[in-house]
């Protein structure tokens, strides 16, 4: 059953259209993540679902009910803000119970619900404290608790972890995942953090300029991006792109020359072969699909410009010529120093092909 359905949503601020026709279906219990560069409209879209922004055109349905023009409180949603947005003058218990109080629930029932939510979030000992007496992680848990007690059909998270430090972010990420499993609720989550998107999502929605670029499971987006934008956006470090000239075609692949890499006759797999043969295409290679170990593929000679050593892996930023830069993820490259020249091997089956407009071939 579809819990949340967005149909051709549009949003304009004055003459500027920031959401330009977004449609989406989320089934009950699904974890949807909106990602995209800043300004892509992901937060606006979430706020439209919450009812904090009016919808210019289109329809929002939650649980088969049209809520496009319904008050935020009556939509069956709860929202967790990036800045927590706790009521600073109220205790943790009052913060969590405020929504229930507004809905007219009696004090005893309210407290029971608050206690239950607090227990599941390890907040029981802090119920009498004020937000300023809590750490960042605890504050965010209170904000989540405030959402839980409302028993919403859809949880909305607006970059909830971006104010936390790295260690806490990992912890809270796992906590949100656990919460999703325990509650089985539909969640919509906005982030610009790829790791959050990849680890939490059942379905990722990649947005750009108010339009959906691709919707899919995390690994689907990684392994099978629809276009240059998604290919470049998902995956870190970013995919390397080079122009290529098509010299031939076979049943399911092109044969291309890649002048920037000084390679010719490289077979590049295509998802579907177009009717007519394009003359030039863009090819994409992920940094993790380049290796320093001799393989069966093609090799290019590069000069190391900089090394970023993360411990388990190292990111090599190298150049072939003045204009051509390439990034590679290397497993075992501790000795490589800037200025060193060496061979990088490319496995052709891992190369993506895109047409001139950026769509995947």
């Amino acid at each position: 059953m579809a819990e949340l359905v967005l149909t051709d949503l549009h949003k304009s601020f004055g003459a500027t259209e920031v959401i330009r026709g977004v449609s989406l279906e989320a089934s009950s219990g699904e974890f949807i993540v909106f990602v995209g560069p800043s300004g892509c409209g992901k937060s606006t879209l979430l706020r439209m679902i919450a009812g904090l922004e009016e919808t210019t055109a289109g329809k929002i349905s939650i649980d088969d009910r049209d809520v496009t023009k319904v008050d935020p409180a009556k939509r069956g949603i709860a929202m967790v803000f990036q800045t927590y947005a706790l009521y600073p003058h109220m205790s943790v218990a009052e913060n969590m119970g405020f929504g229930l109080e507004m809905s007219g629930m009696g004090k005893a029932e309210r407290m029971a619900k608050v206690r239950q939510a607090a227990a599941s979030l390890h907040l029981t000992d802090y119920l009498d404290r004020k937000p300023k007496q809590l750490s960042g992680g605890q504050r965010q848990r209170v904000a989540i608790g405030r959402a839980i007690v409302r028993d919403p059909k859809v949880f909305l998270f607006d970059e909830p972890l971006s104010n936390l430090d790295a260690e806490l972010r990992v912890k809270m990420r796992l906590e949100i995942a656990r919460l999703h499993k325990d509650l089985g609720a539909t969640m919509v989550y906005v982030t610009h953090d790829q790791v959050e998107a990849m680890t939490l999502a059942d379905k990722i929605v990649v947005l750009r300029d108010g339009l959906v670029e691709q919707i899919g499971r995390p690994l689907e987006l990684y392994e099978n991006p629809d276009n240059v934008f998604v290919a470049g956006f998902i995956g870190s470090p970013r995919m390397n792109f080079f122009p290529a000239t098509v010299t031939g075609r076979q049943e399911n692949h092109f044969v291309v020359d890649i002048p920037a890499l000084r390679l010719s006759g490289v077979p590049v797999r295509a998802r579907a072969m177009p009717e007519d043969r394009p003359e030039t295409i863009t090819i994409g290679i992920r940094p993790e699909h380049l290796s320093e170990a001799a393989g069966s593929g093609f090799s290019v000679r590069v000069v190391c410009q900089a090394m970023e050593r993360l411990g388990s892996v190292s990111y090599l930023h190298a150049s072939l010529t003045e204009e051509t830069q390439i990034t590679a993820e290397l497993r075992d490259a501790r000795d490589v120093q800037p200025g060193d020249a060496f061979e990088l091997f490319i496995e052709p089956s891992r190369i993506f092909a895109f047409d001139a407009a950026g769509a995947r071939l």
Binding site: A50, G51, L52, D71, P72, A73, K74, I77, A78, M79, F81, Q82, T83, Y84, A85, L86, Y87, P88, H89, F98, G99, M102, S103, K130, P131, K132, Q133, L134, G136, R139, R146, R150, N163
Partner: protein
């Protein structure tokens, strides 16, 4: 941050200068009010009282109308403060949150109230109050004082409201709170420092107001402190001891108010809400 010795000395000196500038007159008034008359007017002023007498205070409270004026002033100033707050808080929130036609124009034009010197509106107001029978009654002063305190109060409170993070209000909207509930349960507690500031402003304005109080009030029993007190001092000779004792007592409510709600000035009330 480490400051150099000379900068520290400079800061200390200027601090001492301003403390003396503000504090010395207060000290002069308060210490003078307990000196014997001959010490007050002695050729060599004494910084610390050499004598002590409660006689000026006894005279003030037993042989003058001062207590009546004091009570009148307390009534006028307290009512002014309360009415100002009751009107300014919803008005400021309306200007801040609600959208209605000509909001911007109205908001800017309320400060026009301060474009006219009070003396200009005095005569028309007197005529107006005479028609409705408010002359020589304390409510007339309350109305005038509220009218003059309101525009500034609305301006001030609106900027305090604007300082409350938007997400807190949005969270309350999602929690199902109505506009009035948001104002009462969320916004008012969060702008307490602003309310305290506006309250003190309204109180002090009303407490020291002279021009309207001297014209709109005719009978002696209805006078407020500034006007009544100026009559006590004497037309032909000045009773310095009485003057200083009266001035000392007049300071007390204002100081008490600061002590009482001064805590509201403490900022950082929204600490812990966001971040």
């Amino acid at each position: 941050m480490r400051r150099s010795l000379s900068l520290n000395a400079l800061l200390g000196a200027s601090l001492a200068f301003f403390t003396a500038l503000i504090g010395l007159p207060f000290w002069w008034v308060v210490s003078g009010s307990i000196k014997l008359p001959q010490e007050i007017i002695s050729r060599l002023p004494t910084m610390f009282p050499q004598s002590f007498t409660p006689q000026h205070y006894q005279k003030l409270f037993q042989a003058s109308d001062y207590p009546v004026y004091l009570i009148n002033s307390l009534i006028v100033a307290t009512s002014t403060t309360l009415v100002t707050l009751v009107l300014a808080i919803p008005a400021a929130y309306a200007f801040f949150r609600l959208t209605f036609p000509a909001r911007g124009v109205l908001y800017r034009s309320i400060l026009l109230a301060y474009a006219f010197p009070s003396i200009v509106v005095l005569i028309p107001l007197f005529g107006l109050f005479a028609k409705v029978g408010l002359v020589d009654r304390l409510p007339s002063l309350i109305i005038v004082n509220v009218a003059f305190a309101l525009p500034f109060s609305i301006w001030m409170l609106r900027s305090f409201l604007a300082g409350v993070p938007k997400e807190i209000e949005e969270a309350a909207v999602i929690d199902g709170a109505s506009t009035l509930k948001i104002l009462r349960r969320i916004m008012i507690p969060l702008i307490a420092p602003g309310i305290a500031a506006v309250g003190i402003y309204a109180f002090v304005t009303a407490w020291t107001e002279y021009v309207f109080a001297s014209v709109l009030i005719l009978s002696d029993a209805k006078r407020t402190l500034p006007v009544g007190f100026s009559g006590i001092i004497g037309q032909y000779q000045i009773d310095w001891g009485l003057l200083l004792a009266g001035a000392t007592v007049a300071i007390v409510p204002v100081v008490a108010l600061f002590a009482l709600i001064g805590r509201g000035f403490v900022s950082g009330l929204t600490e812990g809400a966001v971040k």
